[in-house]
Amino acid sequence: MRPVSNTAARSAVLAASLLAASCLAGLALASALEARGIGGAEVVRAAYAPLCHQLPARSLHFAGQPLPVCARCLGLYAGGFGGLFLAWLIPALGKRANGRWLVIALLPTIVDGLARVLGWPGAANLPRLVLALPAGMVAGLLLAEGVADLAAHGPAGAWRLLGSHRPGSVPGRG
């Protein structure tokens, strides 16, 4: 795999982190529009609706209005942006991230989620955001590697949905 330090790959990672930042900005925009009574807040809020339950009690507030996603989702998005941005700043970090990091980073969120399911007192909104940050960050680092690879190689051979080759078969032989 080509390293992330490749110029095109790094530019793609930067573009992805800007996209993640705009997703975060969209959250604040919806609340700000709603607070000022300007139209369009519903449209922005609806864009996030398929991704989150959007319960005001489980969400942080901005400009006196609830954000369009819950505190946990906000932590994941913010962590994702952080991970992508870190991978752009320090490409070696993105290359070091692996599945084990992801499992460890997911643990705090899983424990908090299970606590809720089991009826134990879960974390409040702000701690829930903080607990979700590591998972988002590691996912962002892994995502950065994927984006860099896509930029370097493209989704080559992407549509081999019904290729004729099975594992173990010899190519080009009937």
Binding site: P50, L51, P56, A57, G99, L142, G146, A156, L162
Partner: protein
């Protein structure tokens, strides 16, 4: 991706149908709402894992870019199976789990959320063909983005390095008869 790459159908179909069915099962489907589309993300992730396994068996490289593609296709299968199984479930048992969850939330919900919850509770359980098509496209839109991201993360996690460069067998090598044992 090299010419010997295995086809993506088996891995994408397995992940898409498995998680699409889970996403339509009452109570289980609430995971998607409460955990940031976890089932859709996991669908792309699982598809990437299954495909990486096939690539490993076929001794070909598996790159994160291919993971994104696998995630995208698995997302399409997810949307299709979730819509179809979801319609069958609504016809058979209705949206009982969603109603019960909303009723439970209503106890703790602040006054500003009451109206939203009541509005959702007042919607009747029914399957309309137009609603089904709309639901499919909404599901497809979400799955196309989220499952692709899951596939991309899975592709990076389970990447398979290209096999070490060595002399590739030519057609002549393959056609050649195996050397016979000397007569003793």
């Amino acid at each position: 991706m090299d010419d010997r790459s295995p086809d993506m159908l088996r891995s994408t179909l397995t992940a898409g149908v498995a998680f699409g069915t889970l996403g339509a099962i009452p109570y289980v489907r609430l995971i998607n709402i409460s955990c940031c589309c976890l089932l859709v993300t996991a669908c792309g992730f699982l598809a990437a894992y299954l495909y990486s396994r096939e690539c490993r068996l076929a001794r070909v490289a598996f790159r994160p870019g291919a993971g994104a593609t696998v995630g995208l296709i698995a997302g399409a299968f997810y949307a299709l199976s979730q819509t179809l199984v979801g319609a069958v479930v609504v016809i058979a048992v209705g949206n009982d789990d969603v109603r019960r969850a909303l009723g439970w939330l209503r106890q703790f919900a602040p006054p500003e959320s009451m109206e939203q919850i009541d509005q959702l509770l007042s919607q009747p359980d029914a399957v309309h063909p137009a609603g089904l098509v709309l639901e499919f496209f909404m599901s497809l839109l979400v799955a196309a983005v989220v499952s692709t991201l899951g596939g991309l993360v899975g592709g990076t996690t389970f990447r398979v390095a290209p096999p070490a460069a060595g002399p590739q067998p030519t057609d002549r090598d393959i056609d050649r008869e195996p050397p016979s044992l000397p007569n003793v």
